[in-house]
């Protein structure tokens, strides 16, 4: 079932001809950069989910809040959809443009406005890169904790819109735990501040609601993040296993020992070999699985914990345990993991990255399920896993030039996500729903729950103009998806009308 916007299933969009929207915007927001020629629009036709491409009607690149306000007012009045885009690194098609829509590109909002070391906050514009915040805070020995693997490129506005994670979430949380305040502009062109510089704010927790809302409730124009003192030391242990189940069990044993690692990552043999071939991180290519366990904090405690974890790993059956000797080796161990996606990309013409989450106890059964799907459909799957927080990233290898393989990869991906839901997990841990997982939302949520989401959307965007079609499927889409997708002999939504 194609994921491109389908008015029949996703809702009708207003018909505006490009010339009149262009003319109106050029008149109403005269000093704003507007792209309208096909060759200028082309670079914006996709985000990190590059299998799907749509040329937007127009690209707006404002550099003042006033321009955004005016842009929104015009779009609201004319009924033109607005898709907001940050750095375009998203993996779920959250910034996939619409043919009838304006793509609002926030890259010009790229200034760090303030770093306050005593309050331990940084106030930044949404186009600031994730890593740039930690770099700006480094002179004060502070940093911004969430570190998605794309942190050299992804922007903080996109991080908030997607509630981005990273490899340190178990201990330090996701974006939602590390943001204090967000300024937004509504589709009607009003400014609003969510959260505050204090730890809380009066009224509903709209900051939490907007975080991860995928640009569907408002446009993020400024973000104030919390900064943390850099841990005194961080040490990384790498453990090899001859059996992936043993590695999975070791993860639970570490937690059961009362230890919360800063990072706890697992890779399977295919991912290990890909990363080693690409980065030369010193990974054991014969191992069935490795665990990377980072322990950080005050040095004396970290040394105690390293000893405890070594004992746990040995008991769990690790065939080899290495402690990174210094920061350089630690960085190398992490480089292998952080480059696992591009590394796998070198092994195969294309790969498709999934993002399901599961309770840790379900790991062996889900891995078996994935292996069976891989076998059945003839597509290799490499597994990279934020083991500490149960977030899996199976990478499905395929060749888009072979007829039908993309569709097959998507089918396998969809089935993997359903395995996650069956195991008590979720279809996305940190990449977002976007357009990519729009159909799987029908598996995750019941129609009444989806209706609540649509109600929230209507409260902030009565005309449904902000990023329409993303994140929350219509009940019509779910009915059609359900009709095509009889699972265990049961329709997901037998109560919905079919057409």
């Amino acid at each position: 079932m194609n994921i491109l916007y389908d008015e029949r299933l996703d809702g009708a969009l207003a018909l505006n001809d490009k010339a009149s929207v262009l003319d109106r915007l050029q008149t109403s927001v005269p000093d704003m950069k507007l792209l309208h020629r096909e060759e200028d629009l082309r670079p914006f036709e996709c985000d990190g989910l590059s299998a799907y491409r749509v040329l937007p009607m127009l690209v707006a690149m404002p550099d003042t809040l006033e321009q955004i306000e005016n842009l929104m007012r015009v779009c609201f009045e004319m009924g033109v959809p607005v898709v907001t885009r940050g750095a375009g690194t998203g993996l779920s098609g959250g910034a996939l443009p619409l043919e009838q829509g304006v793509l609002l590109v926030m890259s010009r909002f790229s200034r760090i406005l303030d770093v306050d070391p005593d309050a331990r906050t940084a106030k930044v514009q949404p186009g600031v890169r994730n890593l740039a915040i930690s770099e700006a805070a480094a002179p004060y020995n502070l940093y911004y904790a969430p570190d998605p693997s794309s942190q050299i490129a992804c922007s903080i506005g996109g991080n908030v819109a997607e509630n981005a994670g990273g490899v340190h979430c178990l201990k330090y949380g996701l974006t939602v735990h590390n943001v204090l305040k967000v300024n937004v502009i509504t589709i009607e062109g009003e400014r609003m501040t969510l959260g505050s510089d204090a730890f809380d704010a009066p009224g509903f927790d709209l900051l939490a609601l907007f975080t991860g809302s995928e640009g569907m409730l408002g446009v993020i124009t400024e973000v104030t993040v919390k900064l943390l003192p850099k841990p005194e030391v961080a040490k990384v242990l790498m453990a090899s296993f001859d059996d992936i189940e043993k590695a999975g069990k070791a993860v639970g044993d570490i937690i059961a020992a009362g230890i919360i690692p800063g990072g706890l990552e697992m890779m399977d043999n295919l991912a290990i070999r890909a990363a080693e071939d690409f980065i030369r991180a010193g990974y054991p290519v014969e191992a069935e699985a490795i665990l990377l366990c980072e322990l950080d904090g005050v040095e004396a405690d970290v040394d105690d914990d390293c000893q405890t974890v070594r004992d746990v790993l040995r008991k769990a059956g690790a065939t080899d345990i290495q402690l990174a000797r210094d920061d350089a080796e630690r960085a190398k161990f992490w480089a292998g993991r952080k480059n696992a996606f591009p590394a796998v990309g070198r092994m195969s013409p294309d790969y498709y990255c999934m993002d399901g989450t599961i309770p840790k106890r379900a790991l062996p059964s889900v891995l078996k399920g994935i292996a069976a799907l891989s076998e059945e459909h003839g597509l290799p799957v490499a597994n990279v896993f934020h083991a500490g927080d149960g977030n899996m990233h199976p990478l499905i290898l395929f060749d888009a030039n072979k007829p039908g393989e993309l569709e097959l990869a998507e089918k396998v991906g969809g089935k993997i996500l359903e395995l996650c839901v069956e195991a008590g997990g979720a279809i996305t841990g940190e990449h977002g729903v976007g357009r990519e997982k729009i159909n799987q939302m029908c598996v995750q949520f019941k129609p009444d729950e989806l209706t609540s989401f649509h109600a929230v959307k209507a409260a902030f965007d009565s005309r449904g103009l902000l990023n329409p079609g993303k994140n929350i499927p219509t009940l019509q889409r779910c009915a059609e998806f359900g009709a095509m997708h009889v699972h265990h002999g049961k329709l997901p939504h037998p109560d919905l009308p079919r057409f």
């Binding site: 306050d116 005593d118 309050a119 331990r120 020995n141 997607e162 509630n163 994670g165 949380g173 996701l174 939602v176 009003e190 609003m192 501040t193 505050s196 510089d197 204090a198 730890f199 809380d200 009066p202 009224g203 509903f204 927790d205 709209l206 939490a208 609601l209 975080t211 809302s213 003192p229 009362g258 904090g297 005050v298 004396a300 405690d301 105690d304 914990d305 989450t357 599961i358 309770p359 106890r361 927080d389 149960g390 008590g424 997990g425 979720a426 996305t428 841990g429 940190e430 939302m441 995750q444 949520f445 009444d448 729950e449 609540s452 109600a455 929230v456 409260a459 902030f460 009565s462 929350i472």
Partner: protein, 367 residues
């Protein structure tokens, strides 16, 4: 199945499931447009506006109780809303774990639902995170009288809007929370309490200075001419830090007494209203009449004062914070919203509770 349960950790199924009856009550209320006053243990009834519509009916969650699922290795516990908070904390403590946000009880009958609906956190909050930070998922009865599930029992989940965290602190005005899944964490192996006599100015300077260092601090208050500090962490770092910082030993009971408002400062016989002032980190002392107690390293200040709400809020808002009145009936308890914020709050309330049956007027007069 029994084997699975033993193998994978602790599963507890105790208490009673009253979800079906509660849903029925909501359907009746919706049909009759009868406002509902949602109650638990009643320990936080003082918190919020006291205006209850004359035709309101109480809907009690206390019988809907029990821990439905707890697996310490997953660091996740799921609990029905009517479960006593003390029962949950005891179950976690038996596994060496805790709710790091340290929610206040304000009475023996405090329930998990009340904790989440009020969203109040204790002294550890600046370091650990707040109640909403530990909420992973909720079951909520919506206006149609159906139990809906948002979020789940996994650490990371960005599918759909985060209605679980939206419900946290909304005081039941958007729906009835019937069950909550929390992230829990192990208790620290070592704890120490310190009391260091110094001036307020010195204490605030220390808060800023220490905040920039990776110290195992999980409580920092200024009260009675002394900085009160709690250290929690490893068996090596905590004693070493305590020795380095010096001062006198502080009994661990101080943090509980502070959290539960049992210190003399909170004496209910004091005729002056009690205010909670929430401020950005590193805010200097504000010129406010009355007595202050500084918690959260200065970011949460308790104020005993006869100052008018308007004057207080003007000063506090200028400093980037907000003020909440904890003495019921004296004034609007919550800082009024800006015009745009009020409009969107109203629209959200209308969308999720079109008949206005859930705790109307509890947060603000308009909804």
């Amino acid at each position: 199945m029994q084997h699975e349960q033993e193998k994978h950790g602790v599963h507890v199924e105790s208490g009673t499931d009253k979800a079906a009856e509660l849903c029925e009550q909501v359907r009746e209320a919706t049909a009759a447009k009868t406002p509902l006053t949602i109650t638990g243990g009643g320990t936080k009834a003082f918190y919020g506006r006291q205006s209850v519509p004359e035709n309101a009916q109480a809907i009690s969650l206390t019988e809907h109780s029990g821990i439905t699922h707890y697996d310490p290795v997953e660091l996740v516990v799921s609990v029905r809303a009517g479960t006593p908070l003390s029962q949950l904390e005891a179950a976690l403590a038996a596994e060496g774990q805790q709710l790091p946000c340290e929610p206040p009880h304000f009475g023996a009958s405090a329930t998990v639902g009340g904790m989440v609906a009020s969203g109040l956190s204790g002294p550890r909050r600046p370091w650990s995170g707040s109640v909403r930070d530990f909420v992973l998922g909720t079951r909520v009865i919506g206006h149609e009288g159906k139990e809906l599930r948002f979020g789940g029992e996994v650490m990371k989940n960005v599918a759909g809007y985060d209605l679980s965290r939206l419900m946290t602190g909304a005081q039941g005005t958007l729906g009835i929370i019937t069950e909550v899944s929390f992230k829990v964490l192990p208790k620290a192996p070592a704890v120490a309490g310190l009391r260091l006599e110094m001036t307020l100015e010195d204490a605030l300077r220390r808060f800023a200075e220490w905040g920039r260092q990776p110290l195992p601090i999980t409580g920092a208050a200024y009260h009675d001419g002394a900085l009160h500090l709690r250290l929690e962490g490893g068996n090596s770092s905590v004693p070493a830090t305590a020795t380095r910082l010096g001062g006198d030993r502080l009994d661990a009971g101080f943090w509980q007494d502070l959290r539960e408002h049992r210190l003399a400062f909170f004496d209910p016989a004091d005729p002056r209203p009690l205010w909670r002032v929430s401020l950005p980190n590193n805010t200097p002392p504000l010129a406010l009449d009355g007595d202050s107690l500084y918690d959260w390293a200065g970011a949460q200040r308790w104020l005993r004062s006869t100052i008018t709400a308007d004057t207080l809020r003007e000063i506090v808002t200028r400093a980037g914070g907000h003020a909440t009145c904890y003495t019921p009936g004296t004034t609007e308890p919550f800082t009024p919203l800006t015009r745009t914020m009020a409009r969107y709050h109203h629209q959200l309330k209308t969308q999720l509770d079109p008949n206005g049956i859930f705790n109307p007027g509890r947060l603000y007069p308009e909804f």
